[in-house]
C-alpha cells in the first residue's frame, strides 16, 4: 500500500478500472469513480447496473478481479467491511444488515462497544444511542429489539449507525427506498452536516428528485460499464434518465394517472372499524372492482398493519371484513389468498425472498396450488409463467435458475411482484411496490398496475412517495395514528392536499364541497 503521489489533493476516493465478474454476469467492466472531499456523489444506473457491486468491492465484501482503489492518498485493498470501517469508510448496505433481535442501541454500537474496565459499558451505550437517535428527530426506545420496529425505522437506525462512526466517507446504498418525505428530510440534514465536516458521501437512489436536491456530482453506470460523470448542475433529469436506460426518456417522464371509470360498482373489500392491540384504532375503507386505492400517511400511521389484517396475518383484531359482500374471518394469509387476495410485502428480506432458491421457485411459490394436479407441479406451465415475467418485467439474470440472492435489489423486487401478479388476483395489496426499482422499470410496473385495474382487479397501494400515489391512484385514503382521517379523489387528489390532510389530521375547508360531503358520510 504505497503512497500514490500523482493524485490530486482534492480527491478522497479514486476507483480505477474496477472489474468484477460473477458466473454468467460481468457485473463491473473497467469502472472508474472519483469522489472529492466533502462531496456528495450520486451513483446512478438501472437495476443490475452494478452500483451495489461496486460499493461492495470498495468495502471489501467482494474481491475485485482487477482494478485499483485509492483512498485518502493510499492504495487500499480491504478484506472485510470491518477493515474498511477502521480506515474510515462507513457503509449502509442496500439490504439492512443489522441484527434483528438485538436492541437498537446494541445495533448502533455493534463491533465498537465502549468499554469500562474491560466490560461493555451498557449505560453509556444506551445513553449515547439515545442521544444519536434524538438528534435525528425520531422517537423510539433504544432498548427495544430492532425487529419490533418497521422497515423504515430500521433503515433510520442503520443510518444512525453509519453516521455515528467516525468516517471520511459514508456509503449509502438506497437509504431512502423505504423512507417517506419526512425521514428523507432528516437524512438530508445529516448529509449536509457530514458535508460541512468535509466528510464525503456516496449516495445511491432511484429517486431523481433526491439526487438533484442533495448531490454535487453524479456517476452513471449502465450494464456494468461507466457512462460518465457530471456536475449535477450540468445535467437535466431527462438527460440523466436517457443515459441510464440508453434511450430517449421523454415519454417515460411524462406519465399521467388514469381516471377510474366505474364500470362495475361491486365492492371487493369492505373493512369496518379495524382495530388491533398495538397500532390500529379504527380503520374503515372500501375498494371497488378495478379501483386503485392509495393509502397515504406518515411512518407508523398503521398502513402496513392494516394491510396485514386484510391479508389474514393478524388474527388479534376487532372489526369486520367483507369480501365480495360476505363477512369473512381470515385466520392465515392462505385464507386470503384462497379468496383471491395477493400481498406484496415491503419487507423483502423477512417476508419475501427465499434467498437460496431460484428465481423460478421464488416467483411461483404462491401459485403452486393453481399449477399443480394431485400435488405434482406442471413444470411446463411453471416455466411459461417464469419466462413471461422475466421478459415483461425485464428481470436481469443469466438464467431463471439463478438463486434470487444473487440478483440486484431491484431485480429481487421484480421477482416478488411477479409472484403476486401472476396469480391474477381479485385484489392485490402492494406495500411499497416500487421500492428500489429504477425509473424505467417503474414506468412499466405502473403501467401493469393500470392494466390490472382495467381487468377489474382491485389494487390497494401503499407508498412512501406521494407523487407515486397521486400519479397512479383513483382515490387516496389518508391515515394518521391508526385511523383513516380523510379521503381525496379527482381534482382534489394532489400531493399538497394529502400533506394538508396528514398535517391537520382531517379534511380542511380548502377542498371542494363535494369532497367534504363525502367525508362527512363516512
Amino acid at each position: 500500500m504505497g503512497k500514490v503521489n500523482h493524485m490530486d489533493r482534492s480527491t478522497l476516493l479514486e476507483l480505477n478500472k474496477i472489474t468484477k465478474a460473477f458466473p454468467g454476469v460481468l457485473a463491473l467492466d473497467q469502472v472508474g469513480l472519483k469522489v472529492g472531499y466533502g462531496e456528495v456523489h450520486a451513483l446512478m444506473g438501472e437495476n443490475g447496473a452494478g452500483k451495489s457491486t461496486l460499493m461492495k468491492v470498495l468495502t471489501g465484501i467482494y474481491k475485485k478481479d482487477s482494478g485499483q482503489i485509492i483512498f485518502d492518498g493510499k492504495e487500499m485493498n480491504f478484506n472485510s467491511s470491518m477493515e474498511a470501517q477502521l480506515s474510515g469508510i462507513s457503509t449502509i448496505y442496500q439490504e439492512i444488515n443489522l441484527i434483528p433481535y438485538l436492541s437498537v442501541a446494541e445495533n448502533i454500537f455493534l463491533g465498537r462497544e465502549p468499554k469500562k474496565v474491560g466490560r461493555i459499558d451498557w449505560d453509556r451505550i444506551n445513553r449515547e444511542a439515545e442521544a444519536i437517535i434524538d438528534g435525528m428527530g425520531i422517537s423510539l426506545d433504544v432498548k427495544k429489539p430492532l425487529n419490533s420496529y418497521s422497515t423504515a425505522i430500521q433503515q433510520m437506525v442503520a443510518i444512525a449507525r453509519a453516521i455515528s462512526v467516525r468516517a471520511k466517507l459514508v456509503v449509502m446504498d438506497e437509504p431512502t427506498s423505504s423512507l417517506d418525505e419526512k425521514e428523507v428530510e432528516v437524512l438530508f440534514k445529516q448529509i449536509r452536516k457530514l458535508k460541512s465536516q468535509n466528510i464525503s458521501v456516496i449516495f445511491i437512489s432511484h429517486r431523481l428528485d433526491e439526487i438533484f436536491e442533495i448531490c454535487d456530482r453524479i456517476t452513471i453506470l449502465k450494464d456494468g460499464k461507466l457512462v460518465g460523470d457530471f456536475n449535477i448542475a450540468d445535467i437535466t433529469k431527462v438527460e440523466l434518465v436517457s443515459m441510464m436506460i440508453g434511450k430517449d426518456a421523454t415519454d417515460i417522464m411524462a406519465q399521467a394517472h388514469g381516471t377510474y371509470e366505474a364500470k362495475e360498482e361491486a365492492t371487493i373489500l369492505k373493512a369496518e372499524e379495524i382495530r388491533d392491540t398495538v397500532k390500529l384504532r379504527g380503520v374503515s375503507l372500501e375498494i371497488k372492482k378495478g379501483e386503485i386505492l392509495g393509502l397515504a400517511g406518515l411512518l407508523g400511521s398503521g398502513r402496513t398493519e392494516f394491510a396485514k389484517v386484510v391479508f389474514g396475518d393478524n388474527v388479534h383484531h376487532e372489526g369486520t371484513i367483507d369480501i365480495n359482500g360476505k363477512p369473512v374471518k381470515l385466520k392465515l394469509p392462505k385464507d386470503a389468498i384462497a379468496r383471491g387476495f395477493a400481498f406484496c410485502s415491503e419487507d423483502r428480506k423477512v417476508e419475501g425472498i427465499f434467498p437460496n432458491m431460484s428465481i423460478r421457485e421464488n416467483m411461483t411459490i404462491a401459485i403452486l396450488p393453481k399449477i399443480s394436479r394431485m400435488g405434482i407441479v406442471d413444470k411446463k406451465k411453471q416455466k411459461e409463467i417464469v419466462d413471461t415475467y422475466i421478459k415483461s418485467l425485464a428481470i436481469k439474470t443469466p438464467s431463471p435458475e439463478q438463486k434470487i440472492r444473487n440478483l440486484s435489489g431491484g431485480n429481487q423486487q421484480k421477482v416478488l411482484l411477479a409472484r403476486w401478479l401472476c396469480m391474477e388476483p381479485d385484489l392485490v395489496i402492494l406495500d411499497e411496490p416500487t421500492r428500489g426499482i429504477d425509473v424505467g422499470a417503474k414506468a412499466e410496473i405502473e403501467e401493469l398496475i393500470q392494466k390490472m385495474s382495467k381487468k377489474n382487479i382491485g389494487v390497494l397501494m401503499i407508498s412512501s412517495e406521494l407523487e407515486e400515489l397521486v400519479r397512479n391512484c383513483h382515490r387516496v385514503v389518508v391515515m394518521r395514528d391508526g385511523k383513516n382521517v380523510g379521503e381525496l379523489q379527482g381534482e382534489a387528489l394532489s400531493e399538497k392536499n394529502i400533506l394538508t390532510v396528514i398535517a391537520q389530521g382531517g379534511m380542511s375547508d380548502s377542498f371542494t364541497a363535494a369532497e367534504r360531503s363525502m367525508n362527512n358520510e363516512q
Binding site: 465478474a21 460473477f22 460481468l26 465484501i61 396475518d313 417476508e351 411459490i365 403452486l368 400435488g375 407441479v377
Partner: protein, 329 residues
C-alpha cells in the same frame, strides 16, 4: 455483453473450488471405496455390494426422513427410539403377545408403521402448535422412546421364528438381489421426485429457507411440518421393521442405537444445510453410504469399533468444511 463473453466468464468462474463443493461427497465416497479395495480382504466382490445394501438400508431410510426434517429447518433426534418401538411392536404382533390382533405379517408391519406415524404426528404437532423447538421435542421422545420400547416387553428381547416375517428381511430377488436394494432404489427415486416436482417438496424447502415468507406465500406451515415429522417417523418405523425381520428378533436396547446420529451425519455430509432449505437427496444417499462404509471398514479389518466414531467425525469435518458458504467470491 455478447454471448461469447458471457460463456467465457461462466467457465472461468466455475473453478476447482466450486467443483469440490459440488462433488466433494462423491469424491469422499470414491476415496473410501478405493481405500477398502486396497486394505479390506475380499472387498471387491459382488456379495460385498449386496451386503452393503442390506446393512445401509436403515441408515438410508432414516437419513431420507432426516432430509425432509432438516430441509424444513428442523431436526429429529427421536428416530432411533422410534425404530426400537416399531421393531418391538412388530415383534409383539408376530409372537401373538397381543392376541386381539391375531398374527399376520401385514398386521405386524401396519401396526409398527402406525405407531411410528402417531409418534411423528405428536412430534410435529407439539413443535408447530406449541411452538417448542424441534430439538427439545424430539429429545423428549429420544429419551422416553427407548424406555417405552423396553417396557413394552419388560425389557427383554423378543425372539421370533415366524418364517413369513423373517423372510421379508432375507428376501432375494432372482436369488441374488436383496429386497433392501429395491426398497432403497424406490425410496430414493420417490424422494428425489418429491423435492423436484411436487408442491409438498417445494413447500418443505421454502419453510426451511424462510418460514415467515412461506406463511405470506399461502403455505399452511403447520400442516406441512406435521407431515414432515410423520414421514421421518414412518421411515424410521420401516427401518425398525427391517432390522427386526433380518435379525429374527427385536432387542429394544440395541435396535436403532445411534441411528439418529448416523442419519444427521449423512444429511450433513450430503450437503443439505443444517439451517434448512435446499434438500440434497443424492448427497444424503452418498452420505449414508459413506457412514455405513466406515462401519464396514472398521468391522472387516478388525479395527476396534471405537475408531469408527473417530473416522465418522473426521469425514463430517472435512465434508462440512468443503461445503461451507464462501463469503468472498
Amino acid at each position: 455483453m455478447n454471448n461469447e463473453q458471457t460463456s467465457a466468464i461462466t467457465k472461468s468462474n466455475f473453478s476447482s473450488s466450486s467443483n469440490l463443493k459440488k462433488y466433494g461427497t462423491l469424491y469422499a465416497l470414491i476415496a473410501i471405496v478405493v481405500l477398502n479395495c486396497i486394505i479390506t480382504p475380499n472387498f471387491m466382490a459382488i456379495n460385498t455390494f449386496w451386503n452393503l445394501s442390506i446393512q445401509v438400508l436403515p441408515t438410508i431410510l432414516t437419513a431420507i426422513g432426516m432430509t425432509f426434517v432438516i430441509s424444513s429447518g428442523g431436526i429429529d433426534i427421536s428416530v432411533g427410539s422410534v425404530m426400537a418401538i416399531s421393531a418391538v411392536m412388530s415383534g409383539m404382533v408376530i409372537t401373538e403377545m397381543i392376541p386381539a390382533l391375531g398374527t399376520s405379517v401385514p398386521m405386524a408391519v401396519i401396526f409398527a408403521l402406525f405407531i411410528a406415524a402417531v409418534l411423528g404426528f405428536l412430534n410435529g404437532t407439539i413443535i408447530t402448535v406449541f411452538k417448542i423447538q424441534p430439538i427439545i421435542v424430539t429429545l423428549i421422545l429420544y429419551i422416553a422412546g427407548r424406555g417405552i420400547a423396553q417396557l413394552m416387553n419388560n425389557g427383554g428381547t423378543i425372539v421370533f421364528s415366524n418364517n413369513a416375517f423373517t423372510k421379508i428381511g432375507l428376501m432375494r430377488i432372482g436369488g441374488a438381489v436383496p429386497i433392501q436394494l429395491i426398497v432403497i432404489v424406490v425410496f430414493v427415486f420417490a424422494t428425489y421426485y418429491i423435492f423436484k416436482n411436487t408442491k409438498f417438496g417445494y413447500y418443505v424447502q421454502a419453510i426451511g429457507e424462510n418460514g415467515e415468507a412461506s406463511r405470506f406465500s399461502g403455505i399452511n406451515t403447520t400442516k406441512v411440518l406435521i407431515c414432515v415429522y410423520v414421514i421421518s417417523s414412518v421411515l424410521a418405523g420401516l427401518a425398525g421393521v427391517f432390522e427386526a425381520s433380518r435379525a429374527s428378533c427385536a432387542d429394544p436396547n440395541s435396535i436403532g442405537a445411534i441411528a439418529e446420529m448416523d442419519a444427521i451425519a449423512a444429511v450433513a455430509v450430503g450437503g443439505t444445510s443444517i439451517n434448512g432449505g435446499k434438500a440434497m437427496v443424492i448427497g444424503t444417499i452418498l452420505g449414508a453410504l459413506i457412514i455405513q462404509l466406515i462401519t464396514i471398514t472398521v468391522n472387516m479389518n478388525n479395527i476396534p469399533f471405537a475408531y469408527s466414531r473417530i473416522f465418522k467425525a473426521v469425514i463430517i469435518i472435512v465434508a462440512v468444511y468443503a461445503q461451507r458458504e464462501k463469503r468472498k467470491s
